[in-house]
């Protein structure tokens, strides 16, 4: 485990591969409530970075600013060097509540990003078909969301984000509405997909175990107003089996250390 303190993590000194997403001096005010205070972060390309913090620390707000869904009060986000002014094709979002259209089948939901871009029906269905298989939902193409379990619904949300072939995937607490057993299976599948898709993942969660298990890098935000408190790079051998990772001493130590750091924010 490597512990990069906030002070040492000044963007230029980070010895990471090139950053896919750069966050510079982001502040966010809601009326007179300060949600985020001068956030500076780099998200390395091809890695999974987690935003972790106590509830109300603004981690979802930061993710939505990166997505271009809400404007920052000041500061700038650059994706592949281009400043963000709104949602763009190089980013895809996975929603906490899945955001599936209840009136559309799994197939139409997964292909929806392509439908909006005007991709022809046969082509977009072929692409959707591939990603439905990749997330393990083959055979469910013609089901409606209410016929699926929570875990399966989020797989649809993930396939929809993959289908538009964005470079950066933004996941807003994707497993929080999924039950514990499905969540574990889903986390394992997610790691396989990170490996397979070679995309940059930014992942918001409030689960320490989830963050340590899935991430190449963990950014810990402090309580409101949200600031970068700590950056941790867990060095866990991911070639080991999922069960071995969960018993790994490095994994357990990292979980413990993050908990010790976060404990003071919990009332």
């Amino acid at each position: 485990m490597r512990n990069i303190t906030a002070a040492a993590s000044a963007a230029a000194t980070t010895p990471s591969p090139e950053a896919a997403v750069e966050v510079r001096g982001i502040c966010k005010m809601y009326a007179d409530m300060e949600a985020l205070r001068s956030i500076d972060l780099d998200f390395p390309a091809g890695k999974l970075t987690t935003l972790l913090g106590p509830s109300g620390c603004g981690k979802t707000t930061l993710l939505k600013i990166i997505a271009g869904l809400i404007p920052a009060t000041s500061g700038e986000v650059r994706v592949n060097g281009v400043p963000v002014t709104g949602p763009g094709p190089e980013r895809a979002f996975v929603f906490q509540d899945f955001a599936l259209m209840p009136w559309a089948t799994v197939m139409r939901n997964v292909a929806f990003g392509l439908e909006l871009k005007g991709v022809g029906k046969d082509e977009r269905q072929a692409i959707a078909h591939k990603y439905i298989a990749e997330v393990g939902l083959s055979g469910f193409e013609n089901k409606y969301p209410h016929e699926l379990s929570g875990g399966m619904r989020q797989r649809v949300g993930l396939a929809r984000a993959f289908a538009v072939n964005a470079d950066v995937l933004l996941l807003d607490e994707p497993f929080s509405a999924v039950d514990e057993q499905n969540r574990r299976k889903f986390q394992e599948d997610l790691l396989r997909l990170v490996e397979l898709e070679k995309k940059t993942f930014i992942f918001v969660t409030h689960s320490i175990e989830e963050a340590v298990y899935c991430s190449d890098r963990i950014v810990i935000l402090s309580r409101r107003p949200g600031r970068v408190a700590q950056i941790i790079e867990p060095e866990i051998d991911r070639t080991a089996s999922p069960d071995a990772i969960r018993r790994d001493q490095g994994y357990l130590d990292t979980v413990e250390e993050i908990w010790q750091g976060l404990k003071r924010y919990v009332d």
């Binding site: 869904l69 763009g88 409606y144």
Partner: protein, 276 residues
């Protein structure tokens, strides 16, 4: 359960399966059965009440049914509905287009809400029957007045439901559409309208029901034509079974129209409800 039954292998499976399929069938049609029973019970109570009789002007169910069939086959219903449906269809069509349009506009724009919503809130609260004589002053006793009566009753509820429907669209779906760079029109046509459609259609159903009230009020209060004429005429000559048959016919037509609208909604806009 006796020992020989066990010797046969599965002791309870066979009779169990038979019984469960019988109960299964019954359960499948249970709601239909209850509905039929409830209507049957209502007719029975009506028949008994007619035979007591509670009033000399209250015909029995069988008398009414006989009058209903006679009027159905001698063409008096056909002629009456040909007239009644004109203001109703025109009025509902105008109310639906205008109401859904204005409602969606109010839902999307604060300015439109501020401009239009108060008018409809007042109109919805106003006792429309009191305004009908006013319409006749301005527009006479023709088709225009009757159509206006339908619109005045149907439009506010359709517009206000459309407005509420759009305001209650799942914000996360709207965000989803934005995050995949949907255009303004795509957002409205592919997300907002389908997501709002259950409440919009609830408004259309209420509007249609209100439209039926409007057209009958108009036909009773302005000039007796169509089905309003049938009711007024048969009352004046004391043909009570015929009068009741006319009333029953309008209830029947309005119920069937509302069911058809519901079936249309499920078929076209919300296919997922067909399966569930």
């Amino acid at each position: 359960m006796s020992a020989p039954a066990h010797a046969n292998g599965s002791p309870r499976a066979i009779p169990g399966a038979g019984a469960s399929s019988f109960w299964g069938k019954l359960l499948e049609h249970r709601t239909a059965l209850w509905r039929a029973a409830s209507i049957g019970l209502f007719f029975l109570v009506w028949e008994i009440a007619g035979r007591i009789p509670i009033s000399f002007a209250f015909p029995t169910f069988l008398e009414t049914a006989r009058a209903f069939l006679t009027m159905l086959f001698d063409g008096s219903f056909v002629a009456a509905y040909a007239e009644t449906l004109q203001p109703l269809v025109i009025g509902i069509a105008i109310s639906a287009v205008l109401g859904v349009g204005l409602g969606v506009l109010m839902g999307l724009s604060r300015f439109a809400e501020w401009l239009v919503a108060p008018v409809f809130i007042v109109l919805q609260a106003a006792p429309m029957a009191a305004l009908i004589p006013l319409i006749t002053f301005v527009y006479g006793i023709g088709l225009v007045s009757k159509t206006l009566a339908v619109i005045m009753l149907a439009l506010p509820v359709i517009a206000l439901n459309g407005y509420k429907a759009v305001r209650h669209v799942n914000p996360s779906l709207v965000d989803m559409c934005r995050s995949f760079q949907g255009t303004w029109w795509q957002r409205i046509l592919k997300i907002i309208l389908p997501d709002a459609s259950p409440i919009i259609f609830a408004g259309l159903r209420l509007g249609l029901a209100a439209g039926f009230i409007g057209v009958i009020l108009a036909e009773l209060l302005i000039t007796p034509t169509g089905i309003g004429d049938l009711i007024t005429y048969h009352r004046s000559v004391a043909d009570y079974p015929e009068m009741y048959a006319a009333v029953v016919s309008i209830i029947l037509v309005s119920t069937l129209t509302l069911s058809a609208l519901e079936a249309f909604e499920v078929r076209v806009l919300r296919p997922e409800k067909k399966k569930g």
